[in-house]
């Protein structure tokens, strides 16, 4: 990509003036220089350090933490090809080779596993084929299921998403959009919190913390200004639901944030969006402009006392920035190591003040719940389970895609009735949970319902609900190796068990190092997994061993062949 002509080129001073006074200025200021120059030059880093009073060594170190800040040519023009667990099995290596003359490099799962292979070139979000052909395709809509496949289930966040024009304000309002915000403004904040609490809505970003409890803690916390942070980092491989929600229903997320602000007394919202979604960035920015223009966001919304502004901040490539405290560190301009907890963000969040951090899907669930009531939402689940969950299904199935299903649904029903089952002539042998973080289930463990208690009983968890399906053509040792390699690549490096453990496990699963004797191999691997699960400082290191443990549990013969086999894989 050629640099823009010199005359259009904003000066350093203009860039600094644009951002230095804004909330969470570091990332947008770095992006502004990065976009202007195509790379982050030494001069730009010096300039930003001086403007934001960040020590130069610290800022330089922080810049090198992120994957996407380019320091060398071809810079931002360098194609990035998704190398995630699904795309690897759909030809990402060939595509990378085909784009090699442009300096292409791999990137971790870029959140389009339902229609591989995502490629990022500058700010274009493209889809590539094995042979190198690149196309600009819209984010797939969630597949519509015919009623006979949906025996009485109803959707919540997806119920209007397929309506033509829903992404624009007019279309959103034509299908009941912002009615929930009107209602929220008329309600007492504590009443809103009650409805959300009674609905049983729990975090859809991974940890499953009850949303009503979180909001109440923030509403009751001392100090301010308070913030609502929407976690749109969606870095978990195999998860692409937040992207679909934001691209096709951005106002639902904005409305959910504003209602959260009203409920907790926050006037400031920040969306932390992963770098890999530049198209989504444009969608969100447009939606915010539309809503502000119509007085639905901004000062004194609809003439009431309630004001709420939303800012979008773009990440720079780091899975750990989805972890809520790492995300806050990133916003605050520091090296995004997770914080020690407690205290939690509800009291010590953005800039040390009370903060709601909620996932995109959690927030998008709020407007329908407020309109239809807590009982309606509870009733969407099966049995004792409240509500729905969007599940991203990818890999070896007939119809990959995002499916909003009742919590408590049998996994096999989802795989068969929604995703269409195995590919012709194939048999499904393993399904990951929570993207890669939950490890995989195989054999009899596939007879499970999709809810936290059932999945935890099997040593896994639902989390953000990304299911990657593998059939009998797949090498499960390689699948586990890809998984742990991802965690090694994304480990922030703060704590010893994860920083070293993920690397040692990767070496043992790729066969590049480690004992050749099976018992010794198992003993090392089991010790490392146990210590990581017990002592890691954050969820990444706590969950990373699950994929390795699931391999040992479900595929012991494959492990034996891998360790004792004749050749070391290359």
């Amino acid at each position: 990509m050629a640099a823009p002509p010199a005359t259009d080129r904003p000066s350093d001073a203009e860039l600094v003036a644009r951002w230095a006074g804004e909330p969470a200025p570091l990332l947008p200021l770095l992006h502004a220089f990065h976009e202007r120059d195509g790379v982050l030059t030494d001069d730009a880093i010096r300039r930003v350090a001086a403007a934001l009073r960040i020590p130069l060594a610290e800022l330089y170190g922080t810049v090198t933490f992120y994957h996407f800040f380019e320091r060398e040519q071809p810079g931002r023009a360098r194609p990035r090809v998704c190398d995630g667990p699904v795309c690897r099995r759909r030809g990402s290596a060939e595509l990378l080779a085909a784009l090699g003359h442009h300096g292409a490099e791999p990137m971790p799962c870029a959140g389009r596993c339902d229609e591989p292979i995502p490629v990022l070139v500058g700010d274009q979000q493209l889809v590539g084929a094995r042979d190198g052909e690149l196309r600009d395709l819209p984010t797939p809509l969630p597949p519509k299921l015919s009623d006979d496949r949906l025996p009485g289930w109803r959707e919540c966040v997806f119920r209007h998403i397929r309506t033509e024009g829903r992404a624009a304000l007019a279309g959103y309002r034509a299908t009941g959009g912002y009615a929930a915000l009107f209602r929220a403004i008329a309600m007492a904040p504590a009443e809103i919190v009650d409805v959300i609490a009674q609905s049983g809505l729990a975090g859809r970003g991974g940890a499953g913390f009850p949303t009503g409890v979180k909001w109440r803690l923030v509403a009751e916390a001392e100090g301010g200004p308070k913030s609502i942070v929407c976690n749109a980092d969606e870095g978990e491989p195999g998860c692409f639901k937040d992207r679909a929600l934001m691209d096709h229903d951005p106002h639902a997320v904005l409305e959910g944030m504003a209602i959260a602000g009203r409920a907790t007394g926050a006037a400031r919202g920040i969306i932390y969006l992963r770098y890999e979604y530049p198209h989504t960035l444009r969608v969100l920015e447009k939606a915010i402009r539309e809503a502000e223009r119509d007085g639905l966001l901004g000062e004194r919304i609809l003439g009431s006392e309630f004001s709420f502004r939303i800012h979008v901040r773009r990440g720079a490539g780091a899975y750990i920035c989805g972890e809520e405290t790492s995300l806050l560190e990133s916003l605050e301009g520091r090296r995004p190591w997770p914080r020690n907890k407690p205290p939690y963000p509800v009291t010590h969040g953005f800039e040390g003040l009370p903060t709601v951090v909620n996932n995109v899907e959690t927030l998008a669930s709020v407007p329908p719940i407020l309109l239809e009531g807590a009982d309606w939402y509870r009733g969407l689940g099966l049995g004792d389970h409240a509500g729905t969950k969007v599940v991203s299904v990818s890999g070896d199935v007939q119809r990959p895609g995002n499916y909003e299903v009742p919590i408590g649904l049998p996994l096999r029903t989802l795989l068969q009735d929604c995703a269409g089952g195995a590919l012709p002539g194939r048999r499904i042998v393993a399904v990951t949970q929570a993207g890669l973080s939950g490890g995989f289930l195989a054999g009899a463990d596939l007879d499970v319902t999709l809810d936290e208690p059932a999945l935890r009983a099997k040593g896994s968890f639902l989390g953000a609900a990304g299911l990657i399906v593998f059939d009998d053509s797949r090498d499960m040792v390689a699948v586990a190796a890809d998984g742990i390699e991802f965690f090694a690549h994304e480990s922030c490096g703060k704590c010893f068990p994860c920083r070293i453990g993920t690397t040692r496990l990767t070496e043992r699963l790729t066969g590049s190092d480690g004992p050749l004797d099976l018992d010794e191999w198992r003993s090392e691997v089991e010790d490392i997994c146990a210590t990581m699960k017990a002592t890691s400082a954050c969820g990444l290191g706590l969950a990373a061993p699950l994929i390795v443990e699931s391999l040992l549990r479900s595929f012991p013969d494959d492990v034996r062949a891998h360790v004792e086999g004749p050749a070391i894989e290359t």
Binding site: I45, C492, I500, E507, I528, T535
Partner: protein, 361 residues
Amino acid sequence: MTIDGQKVDFAPGETIYEVARRLDRDVPTLCYDPRLEPFGACRLCVVEIEGQARPVASCTTKATAGMVVRTVTDALEAHRRTLLELVISENRDSGDAFGAGTPAHVDPLRGASSQELSTLAARYRVRPGRHAGAHSGHSRRDDDNPFILRDYDLCISCYRCVRVCDEREGDHAIHVGGRGFESRILTEFEGHLADSSCTFCGQCVQTCPTGALADKKALRAVDLPGELTKTRTICPYCGVGCSVDIVTKGDRMVAVQPAFDGPANEGALCVKGQFAWDHVQHDERLRTPLVRGADGVQRPATWDEALDRAADGFRRAAAEHGAKAVYAIASGRAPHESAYTIQKFIRAGFGTNYIDNCSRA
């Protein structure tokens, strides 16, 4: 709260680690330095709390009423051993020019805390070769500053150096680059310390638990025979009064290390107190007195001759111009005993307080 069956009171804000420490529980740590904010990297300090599913890092967890804590269990000790085996596995033997340092043996000349890892490795009977794999950290032999060896082959990413530089010195000269296993300690743009805001106070060296950061001047004495001995004194360079240990090997002074229990400095020093001691054993130091002849040239003399000559001069000056014509300035490079003597000489000998010390500047 209860720790290992013992009931104990705690002050609000105290961490479990601090309480355990008061009870003389020997909870292992590597990333901990009592002067720094709790960080929680090494996870060796994990303890079990009744009712909690997973162990917690005691250095970052505050004590609360009713907590029942165990600092030693079979499971905790097994995790600690695995953690130490992992951290030893990432180190490369440091075959640097000074010939010192393997993960298990690091020359104590490297720095005041340099034995922490090797001591714990021995305590937990770390099995060499377990969890073998890639090494992390790359020594910066290209950094030719005269004071600090950046031997990152031995680095274990505890970030004590970075934190002491930020939190205690306020120099912000170094930070962490990259991430995960590739995390590394660097200055801006990966340059040399001399081109950064480093003041060469040596704080990073003295808190480093592995000897990855080492005192280059001390390492000149690696091959000297003899045991290391430490003698406690106070730095004479300025009025702060930092406590230091003079490290000697045989009859040679080989290093200065800060005293962590020094009331004025709590282990801190500046570049002068830390590194500026070569004059003590410098070849060009006078070993015999010199007196100036009538021709203006200095010639060796006996002590009696020299002292008589000096005394005459002082007496004459005082007789001709009064006692206030004599003014003494003691040198910061001389020991405190000399400074004491010279002020006694002026105050008792001339009855004035025309005395000063260059360290006051």
